[in-house]
């Protein structure tokens, strides 16, 4: 393998889409919130996100004695920013806002900022339960990160490129979910874990009275919760170019297919919360390291053999 691959021209959307992206993600998050309210059997589900947002906007912020407000506020702010930055490489239809040649690694780097963010929020409250929540997320991060990295690298391996548009183009004949199903499942599990959602919500669990978010109220809580939801939506949306063929599909335009597929993945992730109890890390870590990682490596090996055999 001595010759360089052909480097495609970066195909990004016009610059002003960078301003539109938060709005689009906000709409997506809103719909996801409504969907979750419907799943939970709430009354007047459509109004629930609005009422929660109003409650938090008008709520008073709190400060605890000797809390580390610098780190706490920075952590809360970093969470939505990390989600938005990670979404910059997401193809909205056919082109992303930023078509980076290392898009997959960029997404990975931006979502690990959540580790720092949640730990800082848990630390900033000077509360025992908050600290427990922050540390639970660090343990969770260590468990989900390696399988996650192997899963997304397997997708990049299948397309022989780290650029997301190239990965989408490589799925013209067959979606990667058919070639690498294990990587897809591992990615879905890690998407729930990275947004501490559903079975992986121990960092903000009820048994520690809200965990990392125990002393948050008002705008602080809104930013933190909003960041968490944005991260979930972005992680679900990233499954589409990586494994589900991006905007490919008959009849509808590319952006419509992206929306439909993202909604399907989100629905699956929302369902997970209702189906499973909270998974504690003292049980899960062993499973992640001893079962998931070897499976992910084996999957990567299988895909590598296919790619080498085809080349």
């Amino acid at each position: 393998m001595g010759e360089m691959p052909v480097v495609p021209e970066p195909a990004a959307l016009p610059w002003w889409w960078a301003l539109l992206l938060p709005v689009l993600l906000g709409v997506g998050t809103w719909l996801a919130l409504v969907g979750d309210a419907v799943c939970s059997g709430e009354r007047a589900a459509f109004a629930v996100p609005g009422r929660e947002a109003a409650r938090l906007l008008v709520g008073q912020r709190r400060r605890t004695v000797a809390g580390d407000t610098v780190l706490g506020r920075i952590g809360g702010g970093v969470l939505p920013v990390a989600a938005l930055l990670a979404a910059a490489v997401l193809p909205l239809g056919e082109r992303p806002v930023a078509d980076l040649s290392v898009g997959v690694v960029w997404f990975n780097a931006m979502e690990v900022l959540a580790w720092a963010a949640v730990w800082m929020v848990g630390w900033g409250a000077n509360s025992a339960l908050g600290l427990v929540g922050g540390y639970r997320f660090v343990a969770q991060g260590l468990a989900y990160e390696l399988p996650h990295m192997f899963a997304i690298i397997t997708a990049a391996l299948g397309a022989a490129s780290l650029r997301l548009t190239t990965i989408v183009d490589a799925q013209q004949d067959l979606w990667f979910v058919a070639i690498m199903p294990v990587a897809f499942v591992v990615y879905l599990v890690s998407a729930a874990a990275m947004a501490f959602w559903g079975p992986f919500d121990a960092p903000v669990g009820r048994d520690v009275a809200g965990g990392a978010a125990v002393e948050l109220s008002g705008v602080d809580r809104l930013v933190f919760a909003g960041g968490r939801w944005l991260l979930l939506v972005v992680a679900a949306a990233m499954a589409v170019p990586l494994f589900l063929g991006g905007g490919a599909g008959p009849l509808l335009p590319a952006w419509a297919w992206v929306a439909v597929k993202t909604a399907a993945v989100l629905a699956l992730l929302l369902w997970l919360r209702h189906r499973f109890p909270t998974v504690r890390m003292d049980r899960y870590v062993e499973f992640a390291w001893v079962v998931l990682i070897p499976l992910a490596i084996a999957q990567a090996l299988a895909v590598a053999l296919v790619v080498l055999g085809g080349a």
Binding site: M4, D68, L71, V105, A109, V112, L113, A116, G141
Partner: protein, 168 residues
């Protein structure tokens, strides 16, 4: 534009590096160090090394979060509620640190850098991979998987005994 960005990132790296020694709280110190590393990652990105820059950012975030866990565990005064002072050899370490920095800057500014010949490859990531692993791909993969299997085996052997010895 790039020059402005360069100086801004360089200043940020230095300021946050200095803050590592001035802040009282060990948690804040860890994240100041992270900010300094992220500024360095930005500088690497400015050099056109996309993959390296992003990987530096990725690795440093994970490492600094893990380091925060250890800083809180081992250091006195992790929350900075009491003023922190360096007790041992404050003057000596400052002299060595600043002296090294001045020496390196002098060297960088006075060295006769050669003129650039040729252009960077169209896909620097591919070129990097080839240069690092080249004809040893199979060896690298085997060694990597071997190292990994050792780590996993260590985890299995240690967790099998439970958190406090043979309690399972």
């Amino acid at each position: 534009m790039e020059v402005v960005l360069f100086w801004a990132l360089a200043a940020a790296a230095l300021v946050f590096g200095y803050l590592v020694f001035r802040l009282d709280s060990m948690a804040q110190v860890t994240f100041a160090l992270l900010a300094s590393f992220l500024a360095v990652a930005g500088l690497v990105l400015l050099l056109g090394l996309g993959y390296l820059g992003v990987v530096i950012a990725l690795m440093m975030v994970i490492e600094m979060v893990i380091m925060a866990v250890f800083m809180i565990m081992f250091m006195m005064n992790p929350a900075g509620l009491m003023p922190m002072t360096m007790v041992h050899n404050k003057v000596g370490s400052a002299v060595i640190a600043i002296g090294t920095f001045v020496a390196l800057v002098t060297g960088i500014l006075l060295v006769d850098w050669p003129a650039r010949e040729g252009a960077p490859p169209p896909d620097p990531t591919f070129a990097l991979g080839e240069a690092l692993m080249g004809g040893q791909m199979l060896t690298m993969m085997t060694l990597g998987v071997g190292l990994f299997a050792t780590i996993v085996a260590t985890v299995v052997l240690s967790t099998d005994r439970g958190r406090y010895g043979d309690e399972r």
